[in-house]
Symmetry: C2
Subunit: 286 residues, 2 copies
C-alpha cells in the first residue's frame, strides 16, 4: 500500500521520495520517477511531510527511532502515521515526536494495495486542525474518503480498531457459515448467491468467500494480520476493562488457524479449521 | 408478514382466505377484501394451496394438527411452510403430511413486514419440481427473489439457518462494536457514517445501528427471535456434532440480553448489555 500511495502521489504531480527495506522495490520506484532514499533519515532531506505505511507499531518505531531513523532528521516536519496501531500507543508517540519537534497526524487507512495505487484509500484521520490543513493536498491525492474523527490524536486509530473488530468477526463467521452450509449439504456457490442478496450479507462475506469458492488462499490479507489487529482491539479493551466477547471468539479462531499452520494464507483460510475438524469438503475451485 | 403477504396476493388478483388467532386482524383482512376464516381447517374450504407464516415449529404444529387443524382438511392440497424451522423437523413434517395426503414445500422467507406487503419477499425454497411448479404463480406475486435450493425438503430451511447464523452474529457484533466505539470516545453517528462506507460494514450493521442512534428499541424484530433462530442453528449443528463458536457466542449475548429483561425489545438492544456492564452512555436519540 505504501508503494501504491507513493505512485498515486507521483501521478498527482508531487515530488515523492521513498524508502523501503527491500532495495528491489526502491529500484522500481526510481524507475517510475520517484526518489529512492538509502535510509528513513534521508527522506527528511527531500520532504517535510512523511507518511509511514508499514505493518505495525514496531516497524514505525524502527523507522522513526532506529538506526538512521527519521525522527531526529524531521524536526519542523509532519508525520502522517498510517499503520494500524493502538490509540494509547499513538498518543504516546505524539508526545515523543513533540519532544523531537515533529508534528503528528493519526491517519490509519483502509482499502488495500489496488485502491492505494488509484489514490482511493479511506483515511480515518485525527489531529489538530492546523496539522490536518498542512496535509490536505496529500490526502486529496491519496484518498477517496477522508473521515475526520476529531482533533485528538488517537481518535483515528480508535475508529480503525472499531472497523477491524467488525471486519475480523465478519471474516471468521463467513468461514463458519460456509462450513455449516457445506455440512448441511448446500451448494457453496448457491449459498454465496443467496447470502449476498440477503440480510446475512457483509462486505467481508462478499469479498472473502470467493477465495473459498475458488480454492485460492494466496494471501491478499493474511490470517496473521488479523491476529495482530484483533490483538490490538483486545489489548485496548483490556486496558479499560471492557468486554468484547465476539472479538475474543474471532481472535481464538484466527489463533487456531495460525496454530494449524495457516498464518500466512489468506484470512479466508479460517474456513479450513472446520475442514480439519469434520468431514466437510471445501470447494476445489474447478 | 402473513398479513402483508395475504394483501400482496389480493393485490395480484388472487382470491385469498386467511386465518389468524387475533380476530381484529381477521376483521381488517375482511375489510381489505379477504375471506376471514374462523379456524385453520376452514381455509381448506376456500383454497388447495396454503401458506403458514408463523413464528416457529410449535405454531405450525398447532395450525396443522391442533384443534380444528388444517392438515386433515387439506387432503390433496399443497402447504407452503414459511416459518424458520430446523431442517430435520421439516423433513419429518413432510413424512407426516404425506400420510395425510398433503404435499409440502419447504419455503422459509426473509424480508420483514414491509417487503411482504410489497410482494417483495426473499424465499429460500426446496421441494420436488412438480410441487414448486404448482406454487409458481404464488411466488411470482409474493416474492422478489425466489432462491431454489434443491429438490429435497430441508434444503430451504438449511439455507435459512445459514442466513440466520450470519444475521445473528452480525447484530451481536454491531452492538459490541458500537459499545467499544462509545467507550473509545468516538461520536456514534460519525462511526456509523465511516463503517457503512468501509470494509467493516454488514447489512445488519447498516439496518440495526440506526435504532441505537435514534434510541428506538421498539421491536421490528425482537431479541427473543434470535434466541429462537440461533437456538435452531445450534441445535441443528449439535445434532451432527458440528462446532459453531461464533454463533454460540452470539447466542450467549442474546441470552444475556433476554435475561436482563430485554427479550421483547428490538434485537439492537443487545448493545444495552455493555451499558449495564460499563460507564458508556448510549445515544439519547435527540
Amino acid at each position: 500500500m505504501g508503494m501504491g500511495t507513493a505512485l498515486a502521489l507521483l501521478d498527482a504531480g508531487f515530488q515523492v521520495a521513498g524508502y523501503d527495506v527491500d532495495p528491489l522495490k526502491l529500484d522500481r520506484f526510481a524507475d517510475d520517477g520517484g526518489i529512492a532514499c538509502a535510509s528513513a533519515a534521508e527522506l527528511a532531506g527531500h520532504a517535510d511531510r512523511v507518511i509511514t505505511m508499514v505493518v505495525n507499531a514496531e516497524q514505525v518505531e524502527s523507522v522513526l527511532f532506529g538506526e538512521q531513523g527519521l525522527a531526529p532528521a524531521l524536526r519542523g516536519g509532519l508525520l502522517l502515521q498510517s499503520a494500524t496501531v493502538a490509540p494509547a500507543w499513538v498518543r504516546d508517540l505524539d508526545a515523543r515526536l513533540a519532544d523531537a519537534g515533529v508534528e503528528l497526524l493519526d491517519a490509519p487507512v483502509s482499502g488495500g494495495p489496488v485502491r492505494a495505487r488509484e489514490g482511493n484509500l479511506s483515511v480515518m484521520l485525527s489531529g489538530p486542525a492546523a496539522r490536518r490543513e498542512r496535509a490536505a493536498d496529500v490526502f486529496d491525492a491519496a484518498a477517496a474518503n477522508l473521515f475526520v474523527m476529531g482533533d485528538d490524536i488517537g481518535q483515528g486509530s480508535a475508529m480503525k480498531l472499531v472497523n477491524q473488530l467488525l471486519a475480523g468477526v465478519h471474516i471468521a463467521v463467513s468461514g463458519e457459515a460456509m462450513a455449516f452450509a457445506l455440512k448441511s449439504g448446500l451448494d457453496a456457490r448457491e449459498v454465496y448467491r443467496v447470502i449476498t442478496a440477503s440480510a446475512g450479507n457483509s462486505w467481508m462475506f462478499e469479498n472473502r468467500v470467493p477465495h473459498i469458492l475458488d480454492n485460492d488462499y494466496a494471501p491478499k490479507s493474511a490470517v496473521d494480520i488479523f491476529i495482530k489487529d484483533l490483538g490490538l482491539v483486545l489489548d485496548t479493551a483490556r486496558g479499560s476493562r471492557f468486554p468484547l466477547p465476539m472479538a475474543a471468539q474471532a481472535f481464538t479462531l484466527f489463533t487456531m488457524a495460525s496454530s494449524a499452520g495457516l498464518g500466512r494464507e489468506d484470512d479466508a483460510a479460517v474456513v479450513k479449521l472446520w475442514q480439519r475438524l469434520s468431514d466437510i469438503t471445501l470447494p476445489d475451485g474447478r
